[in-house]
Amino acid sequence: MNTKELETTDKAVRYNRPLGRISEEEDGVVLLRLEMPGVPKEGLTIDIDGDLLVVTGAKTEQPDSGRYLVRERPRYHFRRTYTLDETVDRNRIDAELSNGVLTVSLHLKEEVKPRKIEVKGR
């Protein structure tokens, strides 16, 4: 099924959920990695709607001719929604796409970062 067919026959567009990994590699920056193979840079949209982070990746066209002998790959476009809490700085969100993996860097607000307090001895 190609995407053109998908739009006409399936009114409620279905999405596949990309697999993700969430980690904090350095203090104050949370990395969200989403595997979205087949999605070019142009097909990617990242929306922040209030507390929701919505990542949508439109795949490039599948081959429209031919007969599928094996079909295991997710066939729909990717979409995944996350809830952001108030510690994430909405104005400092970066995204990078390489080899089909999207990396979204979520910076935490300065005031929630743990601060080290020097203990002075006398």
Binding site: L19, G20, R21, I22, S23, E24, E25, E26, V30, L32, R33, E35, M36, P37, G38, V39, P40, L52, T60, P63, S65, G66, R67, Y68, L69, V70, R71, E72, R73, P74, R80, T81, Y82, T83, L84, D85, T87, V88, L97, N99, G100, V101, L106, L108, V112
Partner: protein, 152 residues
């Protein structure tokens, strides 16, 4: 800080829950799962593939997110196409806090038995946006030929 996956409105939908339960039970009894097209040395965690037969070639597509060109090896011998490599894209640095991992990493191998009548010398492979596309042309003499029928 926590990222909480959005569960949508289906959380309290009993019909949805029943369907999910049924799916899970069905999966338990799926003994023949994974038998089709999995080679002897293929690991359980192997990338998903599509094989499409087209008029003059076969197209093998494989999802390899996070796999670079240098970590990938595609070879063909005796009508068997082998895609192998190492997926190591998301390995984190020491001391990183990991909140959630759904992805896998490690070496993988996937073999595809191709039908006879392919031209293995002209196989082409291309990796773009994390998807590998291997085009396996059919041999000239094995392509379907159209025979013109003349009306007398």
């Amino acid at each position: 800080m926590n990222l909480i996956r959005w569960k949508g409105n289906s959380l309290l939908d009993p019909v949805r829950e029943m369907e999910r339960l049924q799916d899970e039970i069905n999966r338990l009894f799926d003994f023949d799962r994974g038998e089709s097209g999995i080679g002897l040395f293929d690991r359980a965690e192997s990338p998903a593939i599509d094989v499409v037969e087209r008029e003059d070639n076969y197209l093998v597509m494989c999802d390899l997110p996070g796999v670079g060109l240098s970590d990938l090896d595609v070879s063909a011998a005796n009508n068997v196409l082998t895609i192998k490599g190492e997926k190591k894209g998301s390995r984190s640095t020491k001391g990183a806090k990991v909140y959630r991992t759904e992805t896998w990493e490690g070496t993988f191998q996937r073999t595809v038995s191709l039908p006879s009548g392919i031209d293995s010398a002209r196989i082409q492979a291309e990796l773009s946006n994390g998807t590998l596309a291997v085009t396996v042309p059919k041999r000239e003499e094995d392509r379907p030929k159209r025979i013109a029928v003349k009306v007398m």
